[in-house]
């Protein structure tokens, strides 16, 4: 299983998603203006959108590259439960893309002037939410494997599905900023993750079998 995880991506890739998140975050002050009074209120929302986009980038290739070099067939005939393989893939993806984003939250928050009282909630909401987003992304990527190569197709499938995640996640941050409790949206995100963890791998496996051959 360790090899399975390592086989997917190399550890030195792990810094790159972090950098990506940083650069994309830096785009907003550049585009919107450095005015702290204008940045701070939108900082929570922006870091959520950034996380979503960072996860989306390259989601298209998660299974497609396997299909194109024949590795997918090898996974399918390996006799291993496909859902377990899919779950390992998701975990690996989250460790490489999701976790760095979560860990970078304090830094990003500072860059955007997010009040330090909110950073904790932002961190928790991102930790839960990125998990759900990776799960959604993998299911969509598996579904898209048979489609002809088109880069945008997967984002188009994922984005609408991730709207609730975004609303609860960014909502939790906004709520804390105006002094409201963020428990409800965080609980909902947690529930989403609890649902996604068992269901997404199964859905993913089913989608891959559907597209095989």
């Amino acid at each position: 299983m360790r090899d399975l995880l390592l086989g997917v991506r190399r550890p030195d890739d792990a810094l790159q998603p972090l950098l990506f998140a940083l650069i994309v975050t830096a785009l907003f002050p550049l585009a919107i203006g450095a005015d702290a009074a204008r940045l701070a209120p939108i900082a929570g929302g922006v870091s959520w959108v950034v996380a979503l986009l960072a996860i989306l980038l390259g989601m298209d290739n998660v299974y497609r590259s396997d299909a194109e070099d024949g590795s997918l067939d090898q996974l399918l005939v390996s006799g291993q439960p496909l859902a377990v393989l899919c779950a390992a893939r998701m975990l690996a993806h989250w460790l490489v893309v999701g976790l760095p984003l979560v860990l970078a939250t304090p830094l990003l928050a500072t860059l955007l002037g997010l009040p330090s009282t909110v950073v904790g909630v932002a961190l928790v909401s991102l930790a839960l939410g990125t998990g759900v987003l990776v799960a959604i992304g993998h299911v969509c990527a598996a579904l898209a494997v048979a489609a002809k190569r088109s880069v945008i197709l997967v984002p188009l499938m994922v984005l609408p599905l991730s709207v609730p995640v975004l609303i609860f996640g960014a909502g939790a941050v906004q709520a804390t900023m105006v002094g409201l409790p963020a428990t409800a949206p965080l609980l909902l995100l947690g529930a989403g993750l609890a649902l996604a963890v068992p269901l997404a791998p199964v859905a993913c496996a089913a989608a891959l079998r559907l597209n095989a051959g």
Partner: protein, 214 residues
């Protein structure tokens, strides 16, 4: 249920098998029966459905008509449980960014077996000593195919499905394929290959010909 393994321990029976895409028949009906140690060569023109037949036998595609089954009576054959198949397709199923060693390690962890033959040993058998650590992107077409064969060699699945295993290989490579196939047969495995009839196959090979693609 018997403990001793005899040549009849294991069998692949294909009965009136057909496959159709969107209502159009790709191949079939085709019938044949193989037992432990058999080698079967599927011939047919380009587009006749050889690759498709292998994909059906590997369980990647569901037959449209007819059926096939893989049966075993022995218990002392190598793990894992039947009827897992090993597949070598037109595509090698390898990651070009990873080294041969990493690719074989990944395949090993995927299959969850612990073969007697080490990764570097298998690669050396395939004439790839010294190339273990290079990313496959830097190997030649035939060398990549050899990496795929090294991975196959370590896979003791009872049923091997090989799609043009001799393609892109030099004379020495083709001999290696023949000997790897022979070993699988010695182990009482079944080997099904597709061929365009250029290489000479051993006596006793079961020949199956698919009609030309519609």
């Amino acid at each position: 249920m018997s403990v001793a393994s005899s040549p009849a321990d294991f069998s692949l029976t294909v009965r009136e098998l057909c496959f159709a895409r969107a209502g159009e028949r790709i191949f079939g009906p085709v019938s044949f029966a193989l037992r432990s140690g058999d080698l079967c060569a599927i011939a047919g023109s380009n587009g006749a459905g050889k690759t498709t037949l292998l994909q059906v036998l590997a369980g990647l595609l569901a037959p449209s008509e007819g059926s096939f089954d893989v049966r075993t009576h022995a218990q002392d054959l190598p793990t894992p449980a039947y009827p897992r198949t090993a597949l070598l397709g037109h595509l090698n199923g390898l990651k070009l960014d990873l080294s041969a060693r990493a690719n074989l390690g990944f395949r090993e962890s995927l299959l969850g077996i612990d073969p007697a033959l080490g990764v570097d040993q298998a690669l050396a058998r395939m004439g790839l000593a010294g190339y273990e650590a290079l990313p496959l992107r830097e190997l030649s077409a035939g060398q990549r195919r050899r990496v795929a064969l090294a991975a196959l060699m370590r896979d003791h699945a009872p049923l091997w499905l090989l799609d043009e295993p001799y393609a892109n290989l030099d004379a020495e490579g083709r001999n290696l394929v023949a000997s790897v196939i022979e070993e699988q047969r010695q182990r009482q495995g079944i080997v099904v290959i597709t061929t365009h009839g250029v290489e000479s196959l051993p006596d006793g090979t079961v020949h199956v010909r698919l009609g030309s693609g519609s």
